[in-house]
């Protein structure tokens, strides 16, 4: 029973952590994070203009599209590895994600 409950908790993501990454001054803050597979990353936008966050990493590919100011968007880390997240609009924005 205990094992079933544990499995249920894991599969429903209750143990997954959420990591907040802000986009401010055309910079990801922080610019590097360590996460576990299954964790989520919440992208905030504190700039007065739109941003974007995407990765071309095959195992974790995502693109949140255009993100208006003050809107939060959450993505889930699907696979282990190190990958970069970039903003399609602002070429100098870079976030390094290490997933274990």
């Amino acid at each position: 029973m205990k094992n079933i409950l544990l499995a249920l908790l894991v599969t429903t993501g209750l143990f997954a952590a959420n990591h907040v990454v802000d986009q401010k001054g055309k910079t990801f803050i922080p610019h590097a994070i360590s996460v576990a597979v299954g964790d989520t990353i919440t992208f905030k936008n504190s700039d007065p203009f739109a941003h974007n966050a995407y990765t071309d990493d095959e195992a974790n590919e995502f693109d949140i599209g255009m993100q208006s100011p003050k809107i939060d968007v959450k993505v889930t880390v699907k696979a282990a590895g190190t990958f970069n997240v970039e903003c399609a609009i602002h070429p100098n924005m870079l976030l390094e994600v290490t997933a274990k």
């Binding site: 007065p48 203009f49 995407y54 255009m66 208006s68 399609a88 609009i89 602002h90 070429p91 100098n92």
Partner: protein, 241 residues
Amino acid sequence: MILNKNTLILPFTILSLLCSTLFGDDMYKQESLDNGKLIYESTCISCHGAKGETSSAIFLIVKPRKLNKTILSQEQSFKIIKDGAHYWGAHSDIMPTFKYVYNDDEISNVALYISEEFNSHRDKKVLKLLQESDAVSKDEQVKMLSVGEKIFKRNCSTCHGVIGDGKSEYVEKLKVSKDFLFPYNLTRTLLNEDEIFLYAKFGGHYWGTDKNDMPSWQNKYNDFKLKSVAKYVNEKIKKIK
């Protein structure tokens, strides 16, 4: 010695002929420059400044381009002055057409004056930057359009729109904020493939725009990728060849 009329006229005529043969082009060019300067100082100077550096006091939504940094050649400057910037892809017509004010010769003189007085290093600078850029191998050449299309759709289309006409949801939303953008309608750009590459690589500020709203992409993409985007824009987006 008696100097009559004929003895005076003959050497003067010979001297005039000699001068026009030796200095004819220079004299004509100087006349063109003088005329260009006259027009520039009566018309263009209020926005672009005495030395083409753009007056910081100018209060316009889009600040005039710094003519001492522009990527535009003399021929391209002529077209912008004649037709206005909007015709060649600018969002606004703040740089208006002057074809109803000045004739082609006068416009040509202004373009010459700008080119010679403010931006005489332009051609060498463009050539040097191109020579310093990485060459594209034959193997890479066949991939350029597909690589360029992918990058254009991923990055450039956010501002310039999917078809490159400068219309996008992102730009629409910014219209109501202080961080407005007026991306160029690339279907009408005057720039050739090499110039588009250099513009994308170094960004608008480097080439004389006030804001750095067209950022430099050289930290994100290498020369091959930026040349691929330029090729895609030049061959698939641009409509006026």
